[in-house]
Symmetry: C2
Subunit: 330 residues, 2 copies
């Protein structure tokens, strides 16, 4: 087996977030599905952008947020994703490298511009996302370096990759390379509506190709088409090595073989913006695994990271995560 | 094996409850430990009774509440507990028989009067209990009919029985008789402070003598001397056949061998008085088991019963529980 060069290699849509606070009425007025992630085209993106209030731009993307978190926690990470050679693409690349993430993916020199996600944050701190995938649709198997995958202890994939067709092929190639090299594959189900779009394939992935699964309650109940969290919990047991099921303020349940851990949410004084909660949860958890910690400690680290990111606007950590870990775990 | 005459036989302290609403300041002023169950003597009982406002008297006692619930759900039940041949004793016996519970225990003809529990219900619906055990201290092995135990599918015991010394001997005799007859033994840990008083013995009971354990979060974390619910969960797994761990509005976790169920709390519009929540939870759960239902359904029935009893003052069900079950489970 080749030496491990990266603790975590993340593959995902490379997206710049535009965060705008707005009232619930705004969602209703513009037909937006609250708490969902809706794919939009270039025209709709332009139209929404025009009617939205002033926003904050920052690098985002689900798996990118996760690897940024893992880097902030001191692990060696790499990100694979497609931007265009435009201004937003430059911002994305600069930001992700600035937090210590290796980012080698060549930008597209033609085709649609860098992806953006228009995120409306309502006063209850919930986020409603509208994603124009842009250059992400250019991601393909040619962007997946099998040697890099083989040199990464965990390859982490976001379910959102199932939306752009070429990315899906890249996803499958990466998964195969990781498995062939005896490495672990981690997957986030990303979004309940995303699960709805690709249920059959996701069920197959979880059962046959994934070692570590991240899903929130909406996603896991959507996957198994049930209203009951417990029914979904029973269904996922044994399907993959570890399933980390998050339930917002209800905490999380970790299932691994016959083992089950019920872990409370980390307390948060004021929830400001839940964007990135799941992404940073995964970051803390994967870091714990990389450090060889037990599942309860991985879950605690995950909860701390999620709590940090929902305490402020934006999907990337602001506090010193390593210091937070040191304080709680020594 | 003899025929089953009772689905559940409960043994517990036979107590008349005196419920009084009061502000938190009342607890502080009189040095009462909020949410706890404090044992008091006759003098203190008289003194507290004098300073408390007007109360509502009703038959109570933890295991007695449970068997009353099981009877209301249509199962065959019996209660063993000691009252005195006084007015409160007559009330207790009349009430428990009125709800369909067989109650054969002979009243004491001398010694302290029938037990009472002065329950202060604060505006947050929490209950603080002060129990004068009275005649309960007269319960002893002579009150345990081994043939009756052998004819009961489940013998259900409350941890509070560990407080009066004679009752403890009765408890052990009943447990032995149930096990010898191939029947199941169920135990409620009753109260975190009660667990504190008897931890060593309770640990031994759970590990070696109990099939079905009921404990709330405070009790189970006290038993295993940890702050972490998950740590307690891991500790209790494998110690007994089934552990039903309740967490108030956080729902419950059921552990049985390698099986774990995470079940949400049944929704309640207004929580009025939490007295009896654990007792009725056990009632619903034991009824489900008696009816041969699976653990998720037992837990759902338990949650519905607990939700009913906390929706009004008092520790005995007021709604038609059988109708509630029919509505939800057909």
């Amino acid at each position: 087996m080749v030496d491990v060069r990266y603790d975590v290699l993340g593959i995902g849509n490379a997206i710049v977030d535009v965060l705008v606070p707005a009232e619930d009425a705004f969602l209703v007025e513009h037909g937006l599905v609250k708490e969902g992630m809706t794919l939009i085209d270039a025209d709709r993106a332009e139209q929404l952008y025009a009617i939205m209030g002033t926003g904050t731009e920052s690098s985002g993307g689900s798996a990118a947020n996760t690897v940024a978190g893992v880097a902030a926690l001191g692990c060696r990470v790499c990100f694979v994703g497609k931007v265009r050679d435009d201004q937003l693409g430059n911002i994305f690349a600069r930001d992700i490298r600035a937090v210590g993430v290796d980012f080698h993916s060549a930008p597209a020199t033609e085709g649609p511009p860098t992806a953006r996600c228009l995120i409306i944050v309502t006063p209850d701190a919930k986020r409603t996302m509208n994603t124009f995938l842009g250059a992400c649709v250019e991601l393909g198997p040619q962007d997946v370096d099998e040697e890099l995958i083989a040199a990464s202890a965990i390859t982490y994939l976001e379910g959102y990759l199932w939306d752009p067709p070429g990315a899906k092929v890249a996803f499958i190639k990466a998964m195969g390379a990781a498995r062939a090299a005896g490495r672990k594959v981690a997957l986030s189900l990303s979004d309940g509506f995303c699960v709805d779009r690709h249920r059959g394939e996701f069920l197959d992935l979880v059962q046959h190709h994934v070692d570590i699964l991240f899903a929130n309650e909406q996603e896991i109940t959507s996957l198994y088409q049930t209203d009951s969290f417990d029914t979904a919990l029973q269904a996922v047991r044994g399907q993959c090595e570890i399933a980390a099921l998050t339930r917002s303020e209800k905490g999380a349940v970790i299932v691994a073989g016959d083992e089950t851990h019920v872990v409370d949410a980390w307390p948060v004084d004021h929830v400001i913006d839940t964007t990135g909660a799941g992404d940073l949860y995964a970051a803390g958890f994967l870091t714990g695994l990389s450090q060889g910690r037990g599942l309860p400690e991985c879950a605690a680290m995950a909860g701390i990271c999620a709590a940090e990111v929902i305490s402020h606007m934006g999907a990337r950590p602001e506090a010193d995560l390593q210091a937070l870990m040191k304080k709680n775990f020594g």
